[in-house]
Symmetry: C2
Subunit: 786 residues, 2 copies
Amino acid sequence: MIRHPAFTVDPWSIIESELDLGILATTESLFALSNGHLGMRGNLDEGEPHGLPGTYLNSVYELRPLPYAEAGYGYPESGQTVVNVTNGKLIRLLVDAEPFDVRYGQLLSHRRELDLRAGVLRREVRWRSPSGAQVRVSSTRMVSLVERGVAAIHYEVEALEAPVRIVVQSELVANEALPPRPAEDPRVSAILEQPLVGEESLAWAGGGMLVHRVRRSGLLLAAAMEHGLDAPEGSEMSSECSADVARVTVISTLEPSKRLVLTKFLGYGWSAERSRPAIHDQARGMLQAARHTGWAGLLGAQREFLDKFWAGVDVEIDGDHEVQQAVRFSIFHVLQAGARAEGRPIAAKGLTGPGYDGHAFWDTEIYVLGLLGHSRPESVADALRWRHSTLPLARDRARQLGFSGAAFPWRTINGEECSAYWPAGTAAFHIGADIAYAVERYVRATGDQKFEEEIGLELLVETARLWHSIGHRHDGTFRIDGVTGPDEYSAVADNNVYTNLMAQLNLAVAAQACARHPDKAAALGVLDGETASWLDAARDMYIPFDQDLGVHPQAEGFTDHEVWDFARTHAGQYPLMLHFPYFDLYRKQVVKQADLVLAMYLRGDMFTTEQMVRNFDYYERITVRDSSLSACVQAVVAAETGHLELAYDYVGESSLLDLADLEHDTRDGLHVAALAGAWVALVEGLGGVRVEESRLVLRPRLPDTLRGLRFRLLYRGQRLQVEVRAGEARYRLLDGDGLSVWHYDTEVPLKSGMDERREIPPMELRTAPAQPMGRAPRSRRRRHRG
Amino acid sequence: MIRHPAFTVDPWSIIESELDLGILATTESLFALSNGHLGMRGNLDEGEPHGLPGTYLNSVYELRPLPYAEAGYGYPESGQTVVNVTNGKLIRLLVDAEPFDVRYGQLLSHRRELDLRAGVLRREVRWRSPSGAQVRVSSTRMVSLVERGVAAIHYEVEALEAPVRIVVQSELVANEALPPRPAEDPRVSAILEQPLVGEESLAWAGGGMLVHRVRRSGLLLAAAMEHGLDAPEGSEMSSECSADVARVTVISTLEPSKRLVLTKFLGYGWSAERSRPAIHDQARGMLQAARHTGWAGLLGAQREFLDKFWAGVDVEIDGDHEVQQAVRFSIFHVLQAGARAEGRPIAAKGLTGPGYDGHAFWDTEIYVLGLLGHSRPESVADALRWRHSTLPLARDRARQLGFSGAAFPWRTINGEECSAYWPAGTAAFHIGADIAYAVERYVRATGDQKFEEEIGLELLVETARLWHSIGHRHDGTFRIDGVTGPDEYSAVADNNVYTNLMAQLNLAVAAQACARHPDKAAALGVLDGETASWLDAARDMYIPFDQDLGVHPQAEGFTDHEVWDFARTHAGQYPLMLHFPYFDLYRKQVVKQADLVLAMYLRGDMFTTEQMVRNFDYYERITVRDSSLSACVQAVVAAETGHLELAYDYVGESSLLDLADLEHDTRDGLHVAALAGAWVALVEGLGGVRVEESRLVLRPRLPDTLRGLRFRLLYRGQRLQVEVRAGEARYRLLDGDGLSVWHYDTEVPLKSGMDERREIPPMELRTAPAQPMGRAPRSRRRRHRG
């Protein structure tokens, strides 16, 4: 997107200065507003044209049967899919009886701006109607980060040259017609037509409300609106409603340069448990509170929330405006996805679109919670509390599959498995270890022992139990056969290195946590012998290694397989999964996304430097990055192995993934984990940030392309700023009682407000390995020097 | 079934002397009549009660969409499923205005007999109506083996004690309502309601006809009937028809001991290409020819056909009446499945039921064509001609998957892949080598060089090309990674020994056949370098071997996997696939059906005796026989490795599979490959018959349980009889110019009509290995001695 002439680069905003209807759906995703509970795509106020209308409430889903031409034991029978709930964004406008629609008449100017500090979407348009009337329409839309059920829109119409008759219709609309979706791409979610059943419809002076039930899942939801109006005398306001529409209409005549200002307050509520009257009252109550706060009050609170957030997490880049903008855009959207999810999942697309059916996957734990852990740790605790709340379902699933402990779903909204293709779903048991990893990382970074005891321990114990029952002993080793690792171009292999290393960590940290909380462990039925058996399994975990090549095979036997014929694969055949059968992808050496390289990022302690270098070199040549989850991990390991320019190229790719629509599917929603990956690439890659045991370690290194990198992060409740320049790092504790960090191998004690400078040790730079033909990342060095 | 008190053992018949409605569907399969083109389940004449009504025409199918909750490249979008065509078996009867229905009134006696020499199903019933009228109803039903579109029924009603008023309604009925089927079992076919669309409906004096089109596949089919009537004076006959029914009604009054005899002739025709009038004429023409031949003529021709067949294939067992009956039953049904398929597939269930959607699989080539090759070789040539006719589709499929040559479908009716689960479908590429094996075996056993040149060579070449493109070279070996072997409790593994050995043979025999037919090979575009590369691949084929255990792993790494916990698996959890996820089955050592053991049966030349013994012992302990294809192969290898009593137990299991309904699914149709397996177990197992290069080798050996075994077989157009007694084998050439066979390692020249006796060398008998708990075959020795 950023390369589109309609976009200009701004460090704190995404600005669109021309409307291109061909990329409308993509911009709706980019301009989406959300707080993790309520999400609105960046649809035009007047509803049409649209790419894909979308308003979402976290975990409001419909059930859909999962069909199998050939069924099998343990296949989930029903899936969940996110539904487009009641649209409260809609404000239609008639100008001298002609509908305001950018496809007709003449769009004299257009500007949209997503303001990353204000947390609003602004739009300003000048339009001439087919009959010649001219108006300026401006709107500001926000989804409150403070009041999670509240959104608001400030909508203004001004007559420009001559008096115009204005009709504004502000609506709530349920069951919007959605455009048909191409069925070929398995990543695109199913369509569900008319999923909402009207339960209550109400209009009052200046407002209205709709209560609906989702047809099969039975969830109840309510949307309510109230309006403030500032309009010339003689204006009229009226309200009406039917089952699927509530409408407030304002009629006014505007003299030139006169304005009509409508402020729309929205309140949303839903529940699986509570009654219709309770939901009704909830939405209405939130609405009244929002109106009481008022537009200015909401705006102020939003800014305050964001100022505090940015003060703890901002990343500044000296030498690359594009990436500067992109990384802030990325962090902002990760915040939007996770800020107020509170006991609900953080989905792969956040609340920005219906992609992946609105499901949450393992990458929330591995990618998203890393960034949130250093910027908004309470959201990490919330996300893991959600996993914890689904433990009964995960235990049932483990039992159904014949295992002990808990088997978390590969993809889900409500905690039940929705994956209809088990080799790339259920078999990817690493999800359990990923959750355990996130628990351990959160506790290390916050020291939150209360969380560990109340929530974390049970997650660690139940996932450790799963591993112990999935693996088996053979020839003195502990093996995990027939599972699927992160790379989706392999499946159902023995001893996937990523899985085994993550399971090893899971088993070990579960045992250690039990030792820290013996009473709680006993309450969970953990016996001494059990933790000892976990430690034995961890100690004996089998990690295959190819002695001939001197590299780790991604899984046992992987390096014996044929290497994919990249020379005969042309650009139009990517992503490969849409042009080649899984059969052929699985049995050849071709990697969709970092797998062994991901293991090196997360379990770097288990690899020698030489192994890191050889492995990275080997996998780089066969990794095609058909997944958005890959580039950021490659950035980290490239940085660690002395390929700083390549690392920075991957920083570019991961941070521009959605802004430049690199995967051509941003229309269906943003890639939240990849957005977090932009931060991972910069802060954990170039910044070299790691939490090792209870140490915050930094091994910063800067490519020549950049003049400087400055970032802030939270660690154990204190705010740290790190500034990296050529050959030097400067550490500053922004607030807190004092903290030691490790700069490479040396301890750096920090006191609040004082700078500590340290030299960056010289790094052995290596010649970057070649990627598969045509799959090299775009060079940022060339961009800057060219 | 045979253990049911209603069944008595007879060497040449299956006799049911009591009607048990609880097993009605099963008996309908057992009593099915077919010629491979037209099949009729053994439904009662009056249509109800029924287990499952069924009339089938080979390759008359409906299309059904194959649904995928998560789609993927190369997944077939549409499947084929056999349809129940127009039912011509139906003859309803009213006795004094009360419908003849065995559920009402009183069944005074009941007898059904499937006569394996006459090739008819006889039924004789005495019935008292609810109002007390008594009749004897007897019917004889045949599906002609001589006229493949023709069936006939001889139907007789006799008044027993008092005069009765009789109404006989003889019908053609399309779109019969089928009972709902349980959806849980993936092996049960889909229901298709009302698949036939009426095109023409016609009635004439004494006859009628229905022409229908299958709704989505568009195939046209016609069924026509004519009747002969022998009834007391005053009887009336009338005809009528509507879209889905044609009916001939006879009204008569029978005095005691007087009879009404109705002879129903049926003609069936279908086509994918020809017009409605052409199909109409075809069915009508066949019908007239049948009427011309007459009932007695049809019966006589049927007997003549079967006498000739049995003279070449009969198996006699001295010492086990049950198996004697069962093996003839098995051979008869294999004949019925394959006799007149002529250019169409031989389905897994033949034409006896809708199981597996009426699809043909690889086991036709490996199991069924072996028996037919030594009894009715023209049917083998036909079956392979059908495969040859689907080569264009198989080439397209290979191209779609990215390979050279031809990729035959895992399951199909019309030649297009219908498998919706690729790990156990498309990935089982051994189907190609199985076809090649069948070609090679047919040519060896018949010497039919014309067939090899015209049909066989292209099949060999295209399958060899497939292997060459699927495999790859690594470390001086040729590997085949990521494929599925015969065992359906494993999938997508590297270097499956069965697959690699069969591919090796395929590559080698393709190259040899090209050398025999250089002109035809050149016409197929085969270059010298190409055959040389096949021979190289065959020479370097990688066959994994576990040095520590001294056994072949079924596939690479198999013996490193956890052994299934048989001790904790109870009887109700078999078949395992209905109670455990594929995930867990695939990654553990548990074998559904002979895989490595099947390799030892078909490629015995590639194993030392010690390997055979150790491998059999190893796999016996982990093979659960949840597939009907396993016991016969285990019988063969048990016999070869000195476990003669165990071999005979498996003979018992394989021959009784359907008669005793061992898999509890005979209701859906017979297991044709397993029926052939009964012959395989006896003749290739105990009889030790093999064709090695161009030698017919026999290594007979008899368990103590049996006194003798005598069998006949065709080889290169000559008929051989082999009689095995304790310590001795007697060979006789029944007709032909003379033939040498090999008795173990010595040549035995045979001349027509003369006996040659040879001593059977003593065999090292071994202690039989244990099967998994509860999975031992039923002991036949104990049965005999107990």
